[in-house]
């Protein structure tokens, strides 16, 4: 397994491929309509499937009668919970889902039965002919209701009432630190949560191929729009009772995920079972409404923060509490709960920190991971809270942050290892580009409107402008796999063909972020060939070695390092034969532009194809594998320390400019400046695309997207009513990439997929305050809330619109874990950001 490089070459390296903008490897398939997505797959004799879903938020199933549906001509199979009685779930610690409900339904949308028929029109009829008798139970629809009604037990996974998971940690002497603080502030915040809303609805096609001579009875192939074929593979095997050796899961092109396609889903299991029963391929495509119901979106989280500071703004202690509304099932929720607390220490230096988190079951669609998984909500809260602290202390918000920046190559108070960190540079960049200081100087001079308008909006006198700032950090891949084991997190195989062909095999799943392209660039750079030469086989559990999936911003870092490791093995073989043929010492050989040559005399060269043939003659078939697992020693040794560690962290800062109409409360986000510490761009075009996409998505969450329920139902499960930002709503986004290579990242690269979203929301919240002096401590910050806050302010009722506090159970329903570093975690002072490095593995 690849080990992180400690001492890389010090010479500056000129990359041929890395760092250069170029089209994605699948760009031309995507602009011509040739790219195949799961729903585009049409197989001979294929049937169509659909799920009957619960119309009740909480009910006991008294009976299900499928006989009328089965009797309908064109219906080939109907299944119910009794046919698939094995529980499953993405986390080994939350095995609480059935493919089809047994005994009880827990949210509007919980699947109850599944039908396969000749065409979708027959399905429309068949679904209506399934008779289900329910006994309606009281429905719990919020965090506070879940706490107040332990007697309404939603999910048996909850040990006490509806508390799915409670955690409690203390790092350092928090009480003493508060006692010694010059100033303490407390705030409540609420984040409503939202859906990922990828434009492609979830879809899958299952094909069972019977084989009477096989004791298992046949093999199953599932094409699915999933971010995690590996985990779908595992759970299909578990529920269907088919060994993993007989299941193949393929993710074709995926039309966006953002975390929403990271769970194994009921429709995937049901399509597979229906195919097994009918002996024919079965396709299930979710409707847009179903995408909102199966959800796994951002958790609603209520948060309380207490922070102590010295007069100069130095943070001395933080106590953070989170209450998560998990919906009806576990999903990733235990990890989410930890994530709402774990990364508070990664952005700013916290000498001591206490975290209590709690996830509650409610009768709503299950929540899960969305871009920024569990860190987006606390980031909003912490950054808005720090803004208030800065104003309380009379310190510029930029200065307050600068005084508390985490240092590179250190350990946090909760034992997380920090490597490269360019947060300070990111902060300087957005402050400078946005004209932060000039804006505020002018604002003091009461001419801010003129300065800030940039000619892009109306000049009504009631419109006030403001700038807000926030910073953030995010993981470059989860340091621990979902199933704890010693296996690689990512592996890559490369095969060289004697015709000069290069095929790269990797389980990494491209959901639009460009992970397949990244593999091509990295292998091309290492072997000195053009990326267009490379064939790529990805996200196929039969053909490709395991990559755990496109979650936790892990793929570039982990699959990238695995690809480097595999390519270097082949490069060694090629160089060995080239050295002999060219009579040039190994150290002088270079590979670029499809030739291997003497760096002192580039005319002495061997074409790549020839080198491959000589190497195959010498070594036999040219196949190499590389794999990657994060290093040890990147986290503390307490229970729960597995969520939060990462081989590296990315850093982002955002300045938002908003315009608020004081008369109406209308809020317009006019511009976002976003600086992102990506280590090294593998392809800057794709990195900028991720940053811009994150900024866009964060902006929509901040001001538009609402997750509202009425009488147990999602009130707006359609793209018309659920407000997604269109071109007209999206502000101008200025992206600044900060590149200080990470020592362990592939060519120094770090993540870009999730981190840049996080600072956008608090930057907007802080900008609203800067513009009109009100604090909206609830996301989304809609115009009606701004209007209400402005009215309150005018009536002398204060400037803050805060959520109702949640009464914390006393005592907190879990044992407090206290931990302090035993001294084995020592910051490496010899390591600073300043040394540019090459490559990520030795």
């Amino acid at each position: 397994m690849a080990k992180p490089a400690q001492d890389q070459q010090q010479k500056t390296h000129t990359y041929k491929i890395i760092g250069t903008p170029r089209p994605k490897v699948d760009a031309y398939a995507k602009v011509t309509g040739r790219a195949l997505y799961a729903d585009d797959i049409m197989l001979p004799r294929m049937l169509f499937g659909r799920l009957l879903r619960s119309p009740h938020a909480h009910a006991r199933i008294l009976s299900i009668d499928t006989s009328r549906a089965l009797a309908l001509p064109g219906v080939l199979a109907v299944i119910t919970g009794a046919d698939l009685p094995q529980k499953y779930g993405i986390l080994p610690s939350s095995q609480d889902e059935y493919a089809l409900a047994i005994d009880k339904v827990r949210y509007v949308g919980d699947p109850v039965a599944a039908v396969a028929a000749l065409d979708p029109d027959i399905l429309d009829e068949a679904i209506k002919l399934i008779d289900v008798e329910y006994e309606i139970l009281p429905a719990i629809m919020s965090i506070d209701e879940a706490l107040a009604h332990p007697e309404v037990k939603i999910n048996d996974e909850a040990r006490i009432g509806n508390i799915h998971k409670a955690v409690s940690y203390e790092f350092g002497e928090v009480d003493a630190a508060f006692a010694a603080a010059d100033y303490i502030r407390e705030d409540w915040f609420y984040y409503e949560g939202n859906n990922h809303a990828p434009i492609e609805a979830h879809a899958c096609v299952a094909q069972w191929e019977p084989n009477p001579s096989d004791p298992v009875g046949g093999k199953l192939t599932l094409w699915s729009s999933t971010q995690t074929p590996h985990y779908v593979h595992r759970e299909l095997s578990k529920v269907l009772g088919i060994p993993q050796s007989h299941i193949r899961v393929i993710a074709p092109n995926v039309g966006g995920g953002f975390g929403g396609k990271s769970d194994p889903f009921s429709h995937e299991i049901c399509a597979s079972e229906l195919s097994r029963r009918t002996g024919r391929p079965v396709k299930i495509t979710c409707t847009r409404e179903e995408v909102f119901l199966i959800h796994r979106g951002r958790h609603p989280v209520k948060m309380w923060i207490r922070t102590g500071v010295r007069r100069d703004g130095t943070l001395t202690a933080m106590h953070f509490r989170s209450f998560l509304d998990g919906g009806a099932y576990g999903s990733y929720g235990i990890a989410t709960t930890y994530y709402t607390g774990a990364l508070q220490t990664v952005t700013y230096k916290l000498p001591c920190y206490k975290f209590e988190g709690m996830r509650l079951f409610t009768n709503k669609p299950p929540c899960g991971p969305k871009r920024g998984h569990g860190t987006t909500q606390p980031r909003y809260a912490v950054e808005a809270h720090l803004d208030k602290l800065a104003h309380d202390l009379g310190i510029d918000p930029v200065e307050l942050r600068h005084r508390n920046l985490i240092d590179p190559y250190t350990y946090t108070v909760n034992g997380l290892r920090i490597t490269s960190c360019a947060l300070g540079e990111c902060l300087d960049q957005v402050v400078e580009r946005s004209g932060w200081h000039e804006f505020h100087a002018n604002k003091s001079a009461a001419t801010a409107n003129l300065h800030a308008s940039n000619g892009n909006s109306q000049q009504r006198p009631t419109i006030k402008r403001g700038l807000g700032l926030a910073a953030s950090a995010y993981i470059c891949g989860a340091g621990k796999p979902i199933y704890w084991n010693d296996l690689p997190h990512s592996a890559v195989q490369i095969r060289l063909d004697r015709g000069g062909g290069v095929t790269v095999y990797c389980g990494a799943t491209d959901i639009g972020q460009g992970s397949t392209s990244i593999l091509a660039y990295i292998v091309a750079e290492e072997l000195g060939i053009q990326p267009e030469r490379i064939h790529l086989e990805t996200a196929d559990t039969t053909l490709t070695p395991v990559d755990l999936g496109s979650y936790s911003s892990r793929v570039t870092f982990m699959a990238g390092n695995a690809a480097i490791a595999a390519a270097r093995k082949l490069k060694e073989q090629l160089f060995e034969v080239a050295s002999e043929r060219l009579q040039v010492h190994l150290e002088r050989l270079q590979a670029a532009n499809d030739v291997i040559y003497d760096e002192h005399d580039p005319g002495v060269a061997l074409p790549f194809e020839h080198a491959v043939q000589f190497a195959e003659a010498r070594f036999g078939a040219l196949v190499a594998a590389g794999s990657y697992a994060p290093p040890e020693g990147i986290h503390g040794d307490y229970k729960g320390a597995g969520v939060g560690p990462s081989p590296a962290y990315s850093y982002s800062t955002c300045v938002a400019q908003v315009a608020v109409d004081e008369e109406t409360g209308e809020l317009v986000v006019e511009k976002l400046w976003l600086a992102h510490d990506v280590g090294q761009s593998i392809n800057p075009l794709l990195v900028a695309g991720q940053v811009e996409g994150g900024a866009y998505m964060g902006c929509g969450e901040a001001v538009m997207e609402q997750q509202i329920f009425r009488k147990g139902r999602h009130k707006i499960p359609s793209l018309l009513d659920y407000k997604l930002a269109t071109t007209l709503d999206t502000p101008e986004i200025e992206t600044i990439l900060v590149e200080i290579p990470d020592r362990e990242g592939p060519f120094g690269g770090k993540e870009a997929g999730q981190g840049p979203l996080n600072p956008v929301i608090p930057a907007i919240a802080n900008a609203v305050y800067d513009a009109v002096g009100v604090r909206i401590d609830e996301v989304p910050i809609t115009s009606d809330k701004v209007f209400r806050a402005l009215k309150n302010l005018a009536q002398g009722k204060g400037a803050e619109l805060q959520p109702m506090p949640t009464e914390a159970p006393s005592p907190w329903p879990t044992r407090l874990i206290t931990w302090q570093s035993n001294g084995s975690q020592v910051a490496d002072q010899s390591k600073t950001n300043q040394v540019p490095v090459q490559g990520g593995v030795s």
Binding site: P23, G256, R288, E692
Partner: protein, 171 residues
């Protein structure tokens, strides 16, 4: 009962037996194999299913094939002419305007119509024209850049608009 109709798709005259209540989206994808046209909501909300009807962008999920037998239908598969990509397809690929690619066919067809209506569109014109096509990946920035680059590329020989009088379409 299926009904035999004639559709003119991508300069090809095709006879298709369709169920009269099926939408143009369903017929293109399921009966004609033109799976480049995508569906994101089937309720006219997302724009992924946009095709051109006589050069005008329409939502194929809200269009009945029986009513468009006289029209020239252009899908993403028909943008490429004589083996050459439309300049907007080229710039979408080169400048990273397609990430997951699912909104891309619809966005491209709206973009082509935009360039017909406004050969050198301002950002404001782009925003107005593309407001009916949702993209969840790009934040639209790279899409605007691709439209601008295509406009420049097209201002050479092929600057003449085929449908110069296309009305504004706000999706």
């Amino acid at each position: 009962m299926r009904q035999l109709i004639t559709l003119h798709v991508n300069d090809e005259r095709r006879e298709v037996a369709v169920l009269p209540h099926h939408t143009l989206l369903e017929v293109l994808r399921e009966d004609m194999g033109l799976i480049g046209t995508k569906h994101g909501c089937e309720l006219g909300e997302c724009g992924a299913c946009t095709v051109l009807l006589d050069g005008m962008p329409v939502l194929s999920c809200l269009t009945l094939p029986l009513e468009v037998q006289e029209s020239a239908i252009t899908t993403i598969e028909g943008l490429e002419q004589n083996g050459k990509l439309h300049p907007l397809q080229e710039t979408f690929a080169e400048l990273g305007a397609a990430q997951c690619g699912y909104c891309t066919p619809g966005m491209l067809l709206s973009g082509v119509a935009l360039l017909q209506a406004h050969p050198h569109p301002t950002r404001e014109q782009m925003k107005e024209y593309l407001a009916g096509n949702l993209c969840r990946c790009t934040g639209y920035t790279k899409i605007y850049e691709a439209v601008e680059a295509a406009a420049q590329r097209m201002s050479g020989a092929d600057a003449q608009a085929v449908h110069p009088e296309v009305e504004e379409y706000h999706g």
